[in-house]
């Protein structure tokens, strides 16, 4: 995450002018690639449904819109007895299973063409990229197939973990072949994926549970994040600020997606991101099994239990599984609180990026950076991430049938492409990492201690706030909202 040449060169002068930087820097190219994918995806939904939308009244019942790109972009699906099942899916409109292979090939072509062009623009060989990319994509497909086994998925062992494992396996046995390097573009995949994720950060969904949801997800979470970070710096004296920040964010916000966003915003090392994700997934598995059992054992109210789960378990899917174990109302509250917390990652990524370039990074003489230097060092893809969120939030509320248009865009194409980009990023991290590089981070057990202390604070504060908001102050409105 910290090896973008356009960034590291900055402290030594010889900076490209802004127009040149916007054309060749990885951050700006991620913004253009992400922006282009979002624009094309939205336009495809808009034009293919234009006739239907013009005939519909501006208000009324929701309509089901779809994206014409949906059939051409896919990932391996869930399977139980044979991995071949991952390459077929049952469509709701058809009785026979349909193949996902054309969709997987479509994602390969779209990402391959776009990234080959970007590679060329950066002055590297697009031919070398095309030689390497099919192999890296194949490894990502293998990781997806491993992650999609229903037992593996049931325990929240996400594709990020298996993508890392697949990459690590190669780099730590036979070594990563040189010819693969041109397609091992960790930061570029992550930054482009984050711009696409921006479109899923819809601000209008913030008020899904009214004020109680805001208090649990948007008041407690930043308090826990900042307190854990300060605890890591002042008490544990963590050697790496960026590792401290990534662990604090993934523990307090929403696991892997928050870890990816903050790691990119503070330019954490790839080993730090791997470690933070490994810890988050381990604790998520434990918490998704133990917490519902505790809630049932103490006879806690279903809604309070749901809000507690939603505010504390890192991963979104695990929150839903744990909430459903308590009941339908707990599922609804837990998943909605988590969704509101998910939306916080836009603000967190932006705030971390600003804090990092303003207060953490200094020039070689140890002085604070000038305004121009701050602008130069600011990770520009964060601008794309925030802009995508703002634009899609506006489209969602401002357009006739905006929710359906935006949902169809995300569901039909951008979500799939974002998943592939993150999967490719984690395969790349694995291919670039040696197990020995992870060892120093585990010494002394500080990261583990940080996570445990932060999560203890999170569990206590969230429970108190959830009780106060959902069961004392807004009990009437919540009971009406979740009957």
């Amino acid at each position: 995450m910290d090896d973008d040449p356009t960034q590291s060169d900055s402290q030594f002068g010889d900076r490209p002018r802004l127009p040149t930087e916007m054309r060749i820097s990885e951050d700006w190219l991620a913004v253009w690639c992400g922006g282009l994918l979002l624009a094309v995806s939205f336009a495809a939904v808009w034009w293919s449904n234009a006739q239907l939308l013009s005939e519909l009244p501006s208000t009324g019942d929701a309509v089901e819109l779809s994206s014409p790109l949906e059939a051409w972009l896919a990932k391996p699906g869930s399977w139980r007895s044979s991995p071949l099942e991952a390459f077929t899916k049952i469509s709701s409109s058809r009785t026979l299973p349909i193949s996902t292979i054309p969709g997987i090939f479509g994602a390969f072509v779209v990402i391959g063409v776009l990234f080959a062009l970007a590679t060329q623009l950066r002055g590297n060989s697009a031919r070398d990229f095309w030689i390497a990319f099919p192999f890296v994509f194949l490894l990502a497909t293998l990781a997806y197939v491993m992650a999609e086994h229903s037992v593996v998925a049931a325990y929240n062992l996400e594709y990020a973990l298996w993508a890392l494992v697949v990459g690590l396996l190669i780099s730590n046995t036979v070594g990563t072949p040189k010819f693969l390097k041109p397609a091992v573009l960790t930061e570029f995949y992550i930054k482009t994926g984050l711009v696409l994720l921006g479109a899923e950060v819809l601000m209008s969904r913030l008020l899904a549970l009214g004020l109680p949801g805001i208090f649990v997800a948007w008041v407690v979470t930043p308090i826990v994040l900042v307190s854990t970070y300060i605890f890591g710096q002042k008490v544990l004296k963590m050697e790496s600020r960026s590792l401290n920040m990534v662990i604090s964010a993934d523990m307090s916000v929403c696991g892997v997606s928050a870890a990816i966003a903050t790691a990119a915003a503070c330019r954490a090392k790839k080993e730090e991101l791997s470690l933070a994700i490994g810890m988050s997934l381990t604790f998520t598995v434990i918490m998704m099994v133990v917490m519902p059992a505790i809630i049932k054992a103490v006879g806690m109210d279903e809604i309070l239990g749901g809000a507690w789960l939603g505010g504390t378990i890192d991963s979104t899917g695990a929150v839903a599984a744990a909430g459903a174990a308590l009941g339908d109302r707990a599922l609804e509250v837990a998943a909605t609180v988590k969704m509101i917390q998910n939306i916080l990652i836009g603000v967190v990524a932006f705030a971390v990026a600003v804090y990092w370039v303003t207060y953490v990074e200094q020039d070689p003489a140890g002085n604070r950076l000038s305004k121009m230097e701050i602008w130069y060092r600011f990770p520009k893809f964060v601008i794309g991430f925030v802009l995508a969120s703002a634009i899609f939030s506006l489209l969602y509320v401002g357009l006739n049938h905006g929710p359906e248009l935006v949902d169809a865009t995300i569901k039909g194409s951008t979500k799939t492409l974002r998943g592939w980009l993150f999967c490719l990023a984690f395969v790349s991290i694995g291919l670039e990492t040696n197990f020995r590089e992870l060892r120093p981070y585990l010494r002394g057990g500080k990261p583990l201690l940080l996570y445990v202390c932060g999560q203890t604070l999170n569990l206590s504060l969230t429970l108190f706030m959830a009780w106060l908001m959902f069961r004392v102050i807004f009990v009437g409105s919540i009971n009406q909202m979740v009957p």
């Binding site: 229903s150 593996v152 594709y159 046995t173 998943a335 998910n342 929710p403 979500k415």
Partner: protein
């Protein structure tokens, strides 16, 4: 690491992965307790490995309920 040792390790690890994903996990998925848990998750439209809320099919139901209420 000598190339041959590396290749042997890669083969061993691949064998282990193959055994786990092709034999062990499908067998676990068919055990009655696990099978009913997986069927229940599927019926609830919950993907426990969802990274973001947009990957959870069950959210669609909640969004639609809220849209109906707001209309």
């Amino acid at each position: 690491m000598p190339k041959q040792t590396g290749m042997k390790r890669l083969m061993a690890a691949s064998g282990l992965i193959g055994f786990a994903w092709l034999l062990l996990l499908p067998w676990i998925a068919e055990q009655p307790g696990m099978k009913s848990h997986l069927d229940w998750l599927e019926a609830q439209q919950i993907n426990p490995s969802a990274m973001y809320y947009t990957e959870l099919d069950v959210m669609e139901k909640f969004h639609q309920q809220r849209r109906k209420i707001s209309h």
